[in-house]
Symmetry: D2
Subunit: 240 residues, 4 copies
């Protein structure tokens, strides 16, 4: 499956720290699965904060055309790398129990890609695969991981099994066998799922607006089913 | 792909509420994709709290043989349903910004299935597909979703794109077009990914202990690469 | 300030583990500040799951009179201890990145105390002080802490500075100087704030329904102020 | 109690939106309690991302002297406002289920103030009072609130009862009676607790390194107590 591309995004200020090293291993694991990989350091790119036009008017947010920030910064360089990849692995340091502000800044800018659902019926991120690494000296890795995985999932990314990995501790993550093996499995799974899905691409989006009428029809049936359940519950719940 | 089985677990005390209805739609969507489905109400099962033997001794936790709770309660009935399904959709009410205690109780008991990694080299949940629905009158859905998706992912579940869905509000979720469509897409995606993966089953686990030496080797390389990056960073960081 | 009472609730299945020990230190620190303390183990009490009547009808939830679970279990024993304390310190193990199901079960039952706001104009927990400890072998402490502190705060508890503490690691928390000192400061601060507030009790609730008209009046002013800001923002946001 | 100063920080890109309006009400409520207030818009200040020197060397992080970002940006203007206030109310929009990147950027820079604990034995934020507002069209408020309240608490802020407030919805928060009343109570409580504490200032820090030996002594006692509990637990846990 030549052509699987996996992008690694290092969200740490420190290009030599555990966030970088864990990400590097994951990308090598993806290469072991035949993927081409690239790594970028988020701190190398100038990113301006999202203006949240979306909250003024949903339709103002349109990648890439209508973002008022235009080409002022280097967001589009990253965006193009993401769009041309089958999978993205985010590695974030844990600063105060959460992903870095640099990662949050990128995520906010990515709204425009997701929001294309309302313009062209499909998120530009629909069906991509994501892996997430969170690394910190102290605690907070799960808050960073769970926030980021939910966000990416709601943008259209699949999260393969064990594609969320953390390391916490003051030492070198590379000396921690568990962390290193976790990072390897993450990179392998991201590439593996991307390969499986690439062989299955049928163009149909994973979030589709086409099922509105079917869903509405089911909603009416669901109400009836629930009503029956409600009747049955009256014995224990006399206030119903 | 006859034979795809999707289990729906309703974690709400109310069998007639929005958690149930959203789940019901998701399961119907899975049926539209050809899956067989089943729905259970967690409150119908007696579950005893996990004793956390794991923290005394990792190897005590072994499904199903060694759990000291044995067959005292009805956990094993649920466990068998999970194990015989390709995918599981959890629907939880949001009580105080988090999944219900009933759901948490089940998740704790599932430790034994995941922990088989240390006994037989593979989690019993490895490679299954999960979807998650969180429903509440007020806020907190994302805390419930993100916690549960991280947990399930670290047990071995894949999370397909947009397989995390919420509804919040006091009214009937069935009257909310967005919520209903989200639930439909969730069920569809869970079944769709389960079908794709079922056609790809090669028996190899998604978390594998077999890559230890490869990972360790890469760890040494990662250290060297990071060291070079560290040298380059000295200009801006004289304290290095 | 004789009479300050601090209740410690151990939410762990293991009465001899780090959750217990950290809690024990916090309570001793409270005693050093002159408080009377008591410790209970949640696993010693039979607790039935909340039925979420609240979601059927807000007014059904009324402590202690109307809870349909009545006196079937031992919740009221714990509730009375909480109500007669000035402060409560919760210590939870981290099971799958979150507070234990036992703790979640207790929290759900406590809804009735908070919900008295709608019956008598005041939460029964209004103005109490809370401290929270989360302990786990692996990660997840911050998810447990942050969830529980938000919940308790929205029930009416004050959270003193540094009254959220964690320990993660496989060893004995008692050998970790940082963890032990953190637990000490937590217990000290909980007692200290409780003492300060006890000297200030003026009977007025911390959440008051009495400010409705003042709040509504301010809301109109806020709209006007925001409108001016909106005008000024038009230069950068032509779509406004 | 003339002299109580409450700073409001609006973390939204939109100076006219619900984040602003909710914050404005909270500040007026604080004024009703006699406080002086000031509101700033975070987007008016140029903030450079934290370099995380801390992770290279804990002692490099020292406010204000040693931060390598020096006076390049406008962080110090905000920092001085925070330091000269008794209480701070943060109002954040919810962008992708979390506080805005602007807020996260500020929080990361505040590390230097907290880290003074290791230089002078006291966080510069020790004993201040915080309130937090999170506002969004969709879900995620609790993730933003709980993350920020934990972080601020671990920097040294007290969180008064009901000082965490959210509004979610597409309309004007000012038309929502609950939201408006919540914001009022928040501002009132922040000012009220700040006043109570200002009358109690005894100079002693809320996190003190002075209790190390007392804590260590208690740790040894805790071990013994736990050991007794462990013996008693053996009946149910034969593997102990």
């Amino acid at each position: 499956m030549a052509g699987i591309r996996v992008l690694g995004i290092n969200g740490s200020a420190r290009k030599y720290g555990n966030s970088f090293k864990m990400l590097w291993i994951a990308l090598k694991a993806a290469e072991d699965e035949g993927a081409e990989t690239e790594i970028i350091h988020l701190y190398d790119y100038k990113l301006i904060l999202c203006m949240a036009c979306y909250s003024d008017n949903l339709y103002e947010c349109y990648y890439p055309k209508r973002c008022p920030l235009g080409l002022e910064d280097q967001y589009h360089e990253i965006a193009e790398k993401i769009l041309s990849s089958h999978a993205v692995i985010f590695s974030t340091p844990v600063y105060w129990f959460m992903a870095s502000a640099a990662v949050k800044t990128l995520v906010e800018r990515m709204t425009g890609m997701e929001n294309m659902l309302y313009h062209i019926g499909k998120s530009l991120l629909d069906g991509k695969v994501a892996g997430i690494i969170a690394v910190g000296e102290e605690t907070g890795a799960t808050m960073a991981l769970s926030w980021l995985m939910l966000t990416l999932n709601m943008m259209g990314f699949h999260i393969p099994a064990w594609a969320t990995v953390y390391y916490h501790g003051k030492g070198d993550a590379m000396d921690n066998e568990q962390a290193v093996l976790d990072a390897y499995n993450l990179g392998r799974n991201v590439a593996r799922l991307a390969k499986i899905l690439a062989g299955k691409v049928d163009g149909e989006p994973w979030y589709s607006l086409d099922y509105r009428s079917r869903a509405r029809q089911l909603a009416e049936e669901a109400k009836k089913t629930a009503m029956n359940n409600r009747e049955a519950a009256r014995r224990d719940r006399p206030w119903l």
